[in-house]
Symmetry: C3
């Protein structure tokens, strides 16, 4: 799989990535998109989200600090994105922590088409119907094969399912990608999960090919930058600075030599 | 006082610290909690704050960018925290700047139990009934002994009162702690006060003992990290990065050798 | 033009700069004001914005993540600022991207006096009535002389018009300033435009003289810091850290030797 070709497409097409995201990591979500060479825009007023989604190449929704009104804006944006034919990414941040998050996630997926559902292990397990409880926004243990959960969710909802963790899993109904890049320092930094969703949106917005491959390529590039950034960092804050700088300068040589992506199913053929 | 034992408890118990905080420093509040080894979660929808507080170990409220609706969510969360038996920290950010902030602070304290009230000199003086005016969110001069104000407020409201500044004061009805750690660079960085409240919540959420001692220990650890961070920094922004990195790596040796905490009253016996 | 005298005034008067700004870059807007030696305060509740504006030296409005309710608070704050006699800066962030942003920008300018209107090329062109479309919050090409647009807008609305870009343009009805400082790295960092509006508010709030000259001086100082910061930075994130540090330490020697500000019209005489 030629991961670098996806990064090249992002840098050439500079997709506009419309976000309705949380208030904690909103800056970092914008900057990681910008560091990759694309254009982030954050807008959530119900009066303008359809217009903004209508000029964008991808829509990223993140329920990290959701409210009822905010989810109503998400629905309007998502339906506009559906009509406009651009991919919709949903980060089910904190699903499994409160019934409200579960309920709103399902409501969103019912009222608009979500192309890529992304979360950590317990978030996605909860969305796939398992009885697990996420600890705030941190993953809790799941006693089941995660690849199976992703595959089933992808088939059930005819979407791409992404589970981030030590090993990332990207599944669509026909294929499965495993990404073994990244570093445990990512778990000590607030926002690495949210940024991953923005990266997926960015690559999905620039990619002419399948969304699962684009998501896998985006995660690989982001996590290769993380591996480069962790060298010589002094802790989570200097890691973040280096990560956003490394994303900006990521080279073909780095991506090609460091990527650890494997594909199964249709994508491997 | 064995300050390090409190840090050790945070790292071992990894308390989940639920925040309803302001939109300016929300990321840094989350990251400082995470750098200390605990888990931050930010959630403010009225439909879920009780559930989130119910799975947390501490609740941190900060009125920095309050609205009427936001304070209603704070009340729901605080009452759930009270019922659940976890400590509630209130940062009265900007109290004394506008009547609205004063009014909402008193309303919050009336409608739910607040265990730890934290602010700078003029914020706490205002909450203690003095006629002072805070300059936006920056402390104004107070013509009265601050330790007396803290002690009186602690007795009147049967809580812990924390005044941050060059010398921090932590009082409960029976004891008084003075923390002489920190660096003046903290005054040039946006968010050091808000992060202090999050640190207090984190240590209070992990501590089996008294809340005043936990608050004092948390402030000492945070400000020792600040002293370490300021060495070789090039200004407020590099100071922040180093601070969040230093918190992450803080050692027993650093804490024990650098802490400048003194106790009076019951805590000193 | 003695640019340094404006910076000195900021550091001596430490103006309180009240913001109603967007949720993406709110922290950086606050920190850049603080790094310059002034005091930022962010407050948006309709119940308190008039009180906060009434104790401030300048008001900065930014529609980056506007909602109808938020703009109502902006109007209250702006009218209080008008009554109090302090300058009002409006960053028309994203004007030209959606009709909602255009409509709300015009509504704000109709219902309160705006002293300084600031944006990138396509945002200001749109506010000046041109038929251009901003790409999210990124400038689109404008086929017309930008200085002419700024001059006409300044005359039409009797205000200061600021267009940021490779070369910044500051016009009032009688004068025109060109600022040729800055670095292209600013275009790779989220928030440089928002911070510019906060800097303009800070300098306008401290300056006894004309607002256009204060805006030009503020932009020059900010962009000189950017030129210093870019040396040796490893990408956009380390650039930001260095920028906020350099602003903090900016010297008379740096400002005097590096400033590239030219004036035409009344200001040049």
């Amino acid at each position: 799989m030629d991961i670098y070709s996806y990064l090249k497409a992002v840098r050439e097409k500079k997709p506009l990535v419309h976000h309705l995201t949380n208030w904690v990591t909103i800056y970092d979500c914008a900057q990681v998109v910008k560091s990759f060479g694309a254009s982030p825009v954050m807008a959530h007023a119900p009066e303008e989200v359809a217009d903004m989604a209508g000029m964008a190449s991808a829509l990223v929704l993140n329920i990290g600090t959701l409210t009822t009104e905010f989810v109503e804006s998400m629905k309007i944006a998502a339906r506009a994105a559906n009509a406009h034919g651009i991919p919709v990414v949903l980060d089910v941040c904190g699903a499994g922590a409160t019934p409200f998050r579960d309920h709103k996630s399902f409501e969103l997926m019912k009222e608009a088409r979500v192309d890529i559902i992304k979360g950590n292990a317990s978030e996605i397990a909860r969305i796939a119907g398992r009885d697990v409880r996420t600890r705030g926004v941190d993953a809790a243990a799941v006693r089941e094969d995660l690849a199976d959960i992703a595959r089933l969710l992808a088939k059930e909802r005819e979407c791409v399912a992404v589970i981030t963790g030590k090993e990332d899993i990207v599944a669509d109904p026909a294929s499965l990608f495993l990404i073994r890049n990244g570093d445990e320092m990512m778990g000590h930094l607030v926002g690495t999960g949210c940024m991953a969703a923005s990266v997926i949106g960015t690559f999905a917005g620039a990619s002419p090919g399948g969304l699962a491959a684009a998501a896998a390529a985006g995660l690989a590039c982001y996590e290769i930058a993380a591996e480069l950034a962790v060298k010589g960092c002094a802790g989570p804050a200097s890691f973040k600075e280096r990560l956003l700088d490394r994303v900006f300068h990521l080279t073909e040589e780095e991506v090609s030599s460091m990527q650890k992506v494997t594909a199964e199913g249709a994508a491997a053929r």
